[in-house]
């Protein structure tokens, strides 16, 4: 119940932040942070693959609708959401309770960093590849995608670090 409420809150807040603020940022005329993937990252570990895939698609299509990119974010998010359980299994060996969300505390610092970077990388590379289907320019594409991955991941770590401090007593984190 708490997970669902928090999920909805993350969904609305992150997508509004993405569409109203972050989409207007164009750092070095190249990098736009795509922070809304944080919503998919924070989905509880125990969610079934079906649920994660569908929620990712929902997040992607909403961002698409609000930034005129019909389908691009949806395609990238669906892919990233679909393989998320596999990425988690790859980095986190021990069993976690179903309602635990990925964080520094639950995954361990190293594990969480690796998980976030791989997840964001997968999302960004598929997004930029889909985007450039018509206009192919490989070195430029790689630079843009890598810069995007770095910016988005760092933003996620910053947000995560704040949560770690403020809710130390909370067992879920």
């Amino acid at each position: 119940m708490i997970n669902t409420a928090r999920g909805i809150l993350y969904f609305v807040a992150l997508i509004l932040l993405q569409v109203l603020v972050l989409n207007n940022i164009h750092f070095l005329r190249m990098v736009t942070p795509l922070l809304y993937v944080y919503f998919i990252i924070k989905l509880p570990v125990g969610y079934t693959s079906i649920r994660v895939t569908f929620l990712s698609f929902l997040a992607g299509i909403t961002v698409d609708m609000l930034s005129n990119t019909s389908g691009m974010h949806a395609a990238a998010c669906t892919l990233a959401g679909f393989v998320r359980p596999q990425i988690i299994r790859l980095f986190i060996r021990e069993d976690l309770a179903d309602n635990i969300a990925p964080s520094f505390r639950s995954f361990g610092s190293g594990g969480f960093v690796r998980f976030v970077v791989v997840f964001v990388m997968l999302h960004h590379f598929s997004l930029f590849l889909i985007e450039s289907l018509t206009l192919f320019d490989l070195p430029f594409l790689a630079i843009r995608a890598l810069a995007g991955v770095a910016t988005t991941s760092i933003l996620i770590f910053i947000i995560e670090a704040f949560q770690k401090n403020s809710r130390r007593s909370d067992d879920q984190y």
Binding site: V21, N24, F57, L66, M72, S132, D137, F140
Partner: protein, 285 residues
């Protein structure tokens, strides 16, 4: 049979995944085919209201610069008025010529403008779009030209709803416009290569055209979309194209797309007539 059912149920996440990807790629494909659905773009009323809420906040942030630009523009126009007034006065002294100049008052100037606010604007993608808060109710139609206070901004796309319209800016591979070097009659084709939001390319300019770095590029008279001579940008560098008969110019765009918030849509009353006779001419061939 049971095994088959088990197999399908076990693999249901794969089916959902493939199904959702299919939807996404259908949308991408349809978008690339120029037709964008109104439901899934910011021209849809719900989406437009969300993004315009953000736009109404950010439009306050650059008021100071906007003000300065408007004052400058005002000054330029005042000078233009004075210049034209003097011309009328000199012509009025010669009544014969003045009457010829004034012409028939029943003919109206074929262009009109409609001021619109930008409610959503992207610059970070390879194909960018702008949403404005005027739609078919305000007389906006597909293929109308859109200018900012500094120069050309884009062309209205086919996605026009009642109160909103999506504009294809210069920063989109679908955008192509015939432009020329100011003062010469030769024209080339303007497009964007997806790299830098400040620069676009002017291709197919004949090699014997004389120009210098810093020269002004304006719209040519060959489209019904823009009137002739609207500022596009300035030449920043040039190179010869492979087949050596044409120049390819890098043009620094006059419009700053990263902080666009008010634009003007240009309506051309003669557009339909122009299109009709061009079609007729083609049909006669």
């Amino acid at each position: 049979m049971r095994k088959l059912l088990d197999f399908l149920i076990n693999r249901r996440n794969w089916f959902l995944f493939l199904f959702l990807e299919l939807i996404s790629f259908t949308l991408i494909y349809r978008n690339n085919a120029y037709q964008q659905s109104i439901m899934l773009s910011t021209a849809n009323v719900v989406a437009a209201n969300v993004v315009s809420a953000g736009g109404s906040v950010t439009s306050y942030l650059s008021l100071r610069d906007k003000n300065k630009e408007l004052i400058e523009r005002n000054g330029q126009l005042e000078i233009e008025i004075l210049r034209l007034q003097r011309r009328i006065e000199t012509m009025a002294t010669d009544t014969m010529r003045f009457q010829a100049y004034a012409g028939d008052s029943a003919i109206r100037f074929p262009f009109a403008t409609e001021v619109a606010k930008v409610v959503n604007n992207s610059v970070s993608y390879l194909a960018n779009y702008i949403t404005i808060d005027k739609g078919s109710a305000d007389g906006i139609e597909p293929d109308m030209g859109v200018v900012s206070e500094r120069g050309v901004a884009g062309i209205v796309s086919t996605t026009v709803s009642e109160h909103y319209a999506v504009v294809i800016p210069v920063l989109n591979p679908k955008f192509r416009l015939s432009c020329k070097v100011l003062g010469s009659g030769y024209f080339g084709s303007m497009s964007w290569d997806g790299r830098d939001v400040q620069y676009a390319k002017l291709d197919e300019l004949p090699r014997h055209v004389e120009f210098q770095v810093g020269d002004t590029i304006v719209t040519s008279a060959f489209s019904a979309i823009f009137p002739e001579g609207i500022m596009m940008g300035t030449v920043s560098s040039f190179e010869k194209q492979r087949d050596d008969n044409y120049y390819s110019l890098t043009v620094k765009l006059a419009t700053d797309f990263t902080r666009l918030n008010t634009v003007m849509v240009i309506k051309n009353y003669h557009k339909n007539e122009l299109k009709r006779i061009e079609l007729e001419a083609r049909g006669n061939d």
